[in-house]
C-alpha cells in the first residue's frame, strides 16, 4: 500500500512543486542572465536583487483580468493552455532525478516511474503539447495568433522528427528505452553518451531549441513580427499557463539531454576511480547542476543570436538535421553490429 500509493504520491507532489518553483525562478534567472549579457541589472526592486520577482509576477498574473475575445471559440480557447501545460509537466514522471536513496532503511528510487518505454513516453507526451498551440492560435479567431499557430505547428512537427531520430541512436547505444537503464548504461560504458554520440547531441540540442520555441527559433511568438504569436489574445492566468508550459518544456528537454547525453545523475567521469571523493555529493545534485548548465545554454543563445526566418528554419530542419540524424543512426548501427561480431 505504502509502496504503491503513498510514496509515489509524495514524489509527485515534490516533483510538481519543484518543477513549478524551478519554472518561476528560471524566468528570473533568464531575466538576470539576459541583463548581465546586455550590461543591465535586471529585476532589482522586489526583494534583494529581485529574488522575490517571480512571486510578484505570479500575483500580478493572478489578479489580471482574464479576457476572452468575443469571437473566440470559448471552449477550445480555455482548453488550449491546459493542453499545452499538462504534457509539459507529466513528462517529468519518467525522468530519473537521482540514484536510489534509502529513507528510514527503505530504498527509494528518485523517479516517479521507471517505464520500460520511458523515452517513447516522453516523445508521445511532448507531441500532445503541439495541439494546444495550434488550437490556441486557431480558437483566438484573430490573424496574428493564426499565423503564429501555423508557424508553430509546422516547426514543432518537423523538429520533432529530428529529435526523435536522435533518440534512436541513443537507444542503439544504450540498448534500452528506459530512462534509468540509459543512465546505468552510461555508467557501465564508463563514458557519457555525449562523447559517444556528439552529433546526436548537437542535433538534439538544436531540435530542442526549436521545439521549445526558443531563440533563434522563436518564430511562433516572434514579438517583432507577430506581436506575441499564438498567445496574442491570451491574458491573465491563461497566458501564464502558456508561459509556464514554455519554461517547463525547457526544463524537460534539458533534463532529457542530461539523462541521455550527460550521464543523468552520475558524477563527472564515472569510470575514473580517483574521483570517488566526488561521490559524497548526492546524486540528484549532479542532475540538477547538469540540467541548469544545459538551461544556461538556452539563455545564453537567446542573448546572442538573431532569429531565423520561417523558410530557413524549415530548410535547416528537413535538409540538414534530419538527413544528419538518419546518417548518424546508420553509422551507429553499423558500428554496433561490427563491434558485436
Amino acid at each position: 500500500m505504502i509502496d504503491l500509493l503513498v510514496i509515489p504520491l509524495i514524489k509527485i507532489v515534490i516533483v510538481l512543486t519543484g518543477v513549478l518553483i524551478t519554472v518561476m525562478y528560471l524566468v528570473l534567472l533568464e531575466r538576470k542572465v539576459q541583463a548581465w549579457v546586455q550590461v543591465r541589472l535586471g529585476p532589482m526592486r522586489v526583494g534583494p536583487h529581485g529574488v522575490l520577482q517571480p512571486i510578484a509576477d505570479v500575483l500580478k498574473l493572478f489578479v489580471k483580468e482574464d479576457i476572452t475575445p468575443v469571437r473566440a471559440d470559448k471552449v477550445v480557447f480555455t482548453l488550449a493552455p491546459i493542453i499545452v501545460l499538462v504534457p509539459a509537466i507529466i513528462a517529468f514522471a519518467v525522468i530519473p532525478f537521482g540514484d536510489q536513496v534509502s529513507i528510514f532503511g527503505k530504498p527509494v528510487p528518485l523517479h516517479i516511474a521507471d517505464l520500460n518505454i520511458g523515452l517513447l513516453y516522453i516523445v508521445a507526451v511532448a507531441s500532445i503539447g503541439i495541439y494546444g498551440i495550434i488550437l490556441g492560435g486557431w480558437s483566438s479567431n484573430s490573424k496574428y495568433p493564426l499565423l503564429g499557430g501555423l508557424r508553430a505547428s509546422a516547426q514543432l512537427i518537423s523538429y520533432e522528427v529530428a529529435v526523435t531520430l536522435t533518440f534512436v541512436s541513443v537507444i542503439l547505444a544504450s540498448g534500452s528505452l528506459s530512462m534509468v537503464d540509459i543512465v546505468t548504461a552510461q555508467k557501465a560504458n564508463g563514458v557519457w553518451f555525449a562523447f559517444v554520440q556528439p552529433l546526436a547531441l548537437f542535433i538534439y540540442f538544436v531540435g530542442a531549441l526549436a521545439e521549445t520555441n526558443r531563440s533563434p527559433f522563436d518564430l511562433p511568438e516572434a514579438e517583432q513580427e507577430l506581436v506575441a504569436g499564438f498567445h496574442t489574445e491570451y491574458s491573465g492566468m491563461r497566458f501564464a499557463l502558456f508561459f509556464l508550459a514554455e519554461y517547463a518544456n525547457m526544463i524537460v528537454v534539458s533534463a532529457v539531454a542530461t539523462t541521455l547525453f550527460f550521464g543523468g545523475w552520475l558524477r563527472p567521469f564515472p569510470s575514473v576511480a580517483f574521483l570517488h571523493f566526488l561521490d559524497f555529493v548526492p546524486t540528484w545534485i549532479w542532475f540538477v547542476v547538469k540540467t541548469f548548465l544545459v538551461l544556461y545554454l538556452f539563455l545564453w543563445i537567446r542573448a546572442t543570436l538573431p532569429r531565423y526566418r520561417y523558410d530557413q528554419l524549415m530548410r535547416l530542419g528537413w535538409k540538414v538535421l534530419i538527413p544528419l540524424a538518419i546518417a548518424n543512426i546508420i553509422v551507429t548501427a553499423a558500428v554496433k553490429v561490427a563491434l558485436s561480431d
Binding site: P306, R307, Y310
Partner: protein, 374 residues
C-alpha cells in the same frame, strides 16, 4: 460540368493583415496593410499620417528663430541634423556669413548626431531581426553621445542647438577631450557589434538578398542617403554640395554593390567610422573665433525663395522656404524629409518576401515617423 479554369482547385484566399499603427516593430505609428499569400507578401500598402502635427503650417505663424524648435521635432533621433539644415537655409536666404568656428562645431554636432542616429538604427534593426543584445549595446554608446549633447546645450533629445547665423554658445571647457575619448570608445565598441552580426550566419541569411533594389530603381523611386548608397550610387550631399565645414574635411563615401539589406547595413557601419574620422579632423583643426555671425536684430529675409539640402543620417533633408520680405515668418516652408521619400520604396522592397522580412525592411530604410508625418 466544366470547371472554371480561372478558379484554382483549392480555394486560396489572400489574407489581409494590418501591421500597425500599434505594433512592436513598426518604429512608431507606421501602419502597413499587408496582403499575404500564406506567409508571402503579395502587396503592401503604407498608411501614414498618424503623427501629423502640421509643422509646415505652424511655421507660417512662428518667427524665424522659433522654427528651429519645430525642426527638432521632425527627426527626433537626429534633431541636430534637422536644425542645421533649417538654419543654413535661412542663412542662405539672408546671405549671412557664418564664422568658421561655428561651422566647425556644427560639423562636429552633425556628425555626433549621425553616430547617435545610426546607433539607434543599428540597435532597432538588429532587435527586429531578433538580436536583442545589440540594441542595448548600441544604446549604451548613444547614451554617451546624449551626455555630450546635454553638456553642450542642456537637452538630450530635442536640442535646439543651432541659431540662425551661428550657435547659441561656445563649447564648454574640456568638451573636445570628452568627444575624442568617446570616439575611441565608439570605434572599439563597433567591433563588438560586428562580432555579433557581420559574420553571423543567421544575420547573413536574414539580410543578404533581402529587399534588393538596383541603382536605377533606387534613383527612380527617389531614395536618398544610406539606402541609395547601398545600391551603389555615390551621392552624398556632404561631398557633392558641401555645407558647414565639410569642404575642408577628408572622408570617404561608402557604397554598397548589391543594394540589399546587408549592403545597407555595411554602408551605415562604415559611415560610423567615417563620422568618427570627420569628428577627429574637425576637433583637430578647430579654429578660434566667435561662434555667432553678424545677425540683424529682426530677422526678415528679403522676398524670395530658396532650397537647401543637408545630408542627415537618414538621407537628404531639404527645406524649401519662401519669404515675402514683409513678415517675420516664412510665407511658406516645406520640408523634404528623407524618411518620407525612402518610405515610398517599402512596397516595392517587400513584394515577394516573407512577413519576417517586412520587419527587416522597415528597419533597413531607417524611418522616423516624426519626419514622415511632420
Amino acid at each position: 460540368m466544366e470547371r472554371d479554369v480561372a478558379r484554382p482547385m483549392f480555394d486560396t484566399d489572400e489574407l489581409v493583415i494590418n501591421m500597425g499603427p500599434q505594433h512592436p516593430a513598426t518604429h512608431g505609428v507606421l501602419r502597413v496593410v499587408l496582403k499575404l499569400d500564406g506567409e508571402r507578401v503579395v502587396d503592401a500598402d503604407v498608411v501614414i499620417g498618424y503623427l501629423h502635427r502640421g509643422v509646415e503650417k505652424l511655421s507660417e505663424n512662428r518667427d524665424w528663430t522659433q522654427i528651429v524648435l519645430l525642426t527638432d521635432r521632425l527627426d527626433y533621433v537626429a534633431s541636430a541634423a534637422a536644425n542645421l539644415a533649417y538654419v543654413e537655409t535661412v542663412e542662405k536666404l539672408l546671405s549671412l556669413e557664418v564664422p568658421r568656428r561655428a561651422r566647425y562645431i556644427r560639423t562636429i554636432l552633425a556628425e555626433l548626431q549621425r553616430l547617435a542616429s545610426h546607433l539607434v538604427w543599428l540597435g532597432s534593426h538588429a532587435m527586429d531581426i531578433g538580436a536583442v543584445t545589440v540594441f542595448l549595446y548600441c544604446l549604451r554608446e548613444r547614451e554617451l553621445i546624449l551626455d555630450l549633447f546635454e553638456e553642450y546645450c542642456g537637452a538630450r533629445l530635442t536640442y535646439n542647438s543651432m541659431r540662425i547665423g551661428g550657435l547659441p554658445q561656445d563649447l564648454p571647457p574640456n568638451w573636445d577631450k570628452k568627444v575624442l575619448q568617446f570616439c575611441d570608445i565608439q570605434l572599439e565598441k563597433l567591433v563588438e557589434y560586428e562580432t555579433l552580426l557581420t559574420h553571423n550566419r543567421i544575420w547573413l541569411e536574414r539580410t543578404k538578398g533581402i529587399g534588393v533594389i538596383s541603382a536605377a530603381d533606387a534613383i527612380a523611386v527617389g531614395l536618398c542617403g544610406p539606402p541609395l548608397r547601398g545600391s551603389g550610387v555615390v551621392r552624398d550631399v556632404r561631398k557633392d554640395e558641401p555645407y558647414a565645414a565639410y569642404a575642408e574635411m577628408e572622408f570617404d563615401v561608402p557604397v554598397g554593390t548589391n543594394g540589399d539589406t546587408y549592403d545597407r547595413y555595411l554602408v551605415r557601419l562604415e559611415e560610423i567610422r567615417q563620422s568618427v574620422r570627420i569628428i577627429r579632423q574637425a576637433l583637430g583643426g578647430l579654429p578660434e573665433g566667435p561662434v555667432m555671425g553678424k545677425v540683424p536684430r529682426l530677422i526678415k529675409p528679403p522676398a524670395g525663395e530658396t532650397y537647401h539640402a543637408n545630408e542627415s543620417p537618414k538621407g537628404e533633408i531639404g527645406y524649401f522656404i519662401a519669404s515675402d520680405g514683409k513678415s517675420t515668418s516664412p510665407y511658406r516652408l516645406r520640408v523634404r524629409p528623407p524618411s518620407f521619400c525612402n518610405l515610398q520604396a517599402l512596397p516595392q522592397l517587400v513584394r515577394g518576401h516573407l512577413v519576417a522580412d517586412v520587419i527587416a525592411l522597415i528597419g533597413t530604410i531607417d524611418i522616423v515617423l516624426g519626419e514622415v508625418d511632420r
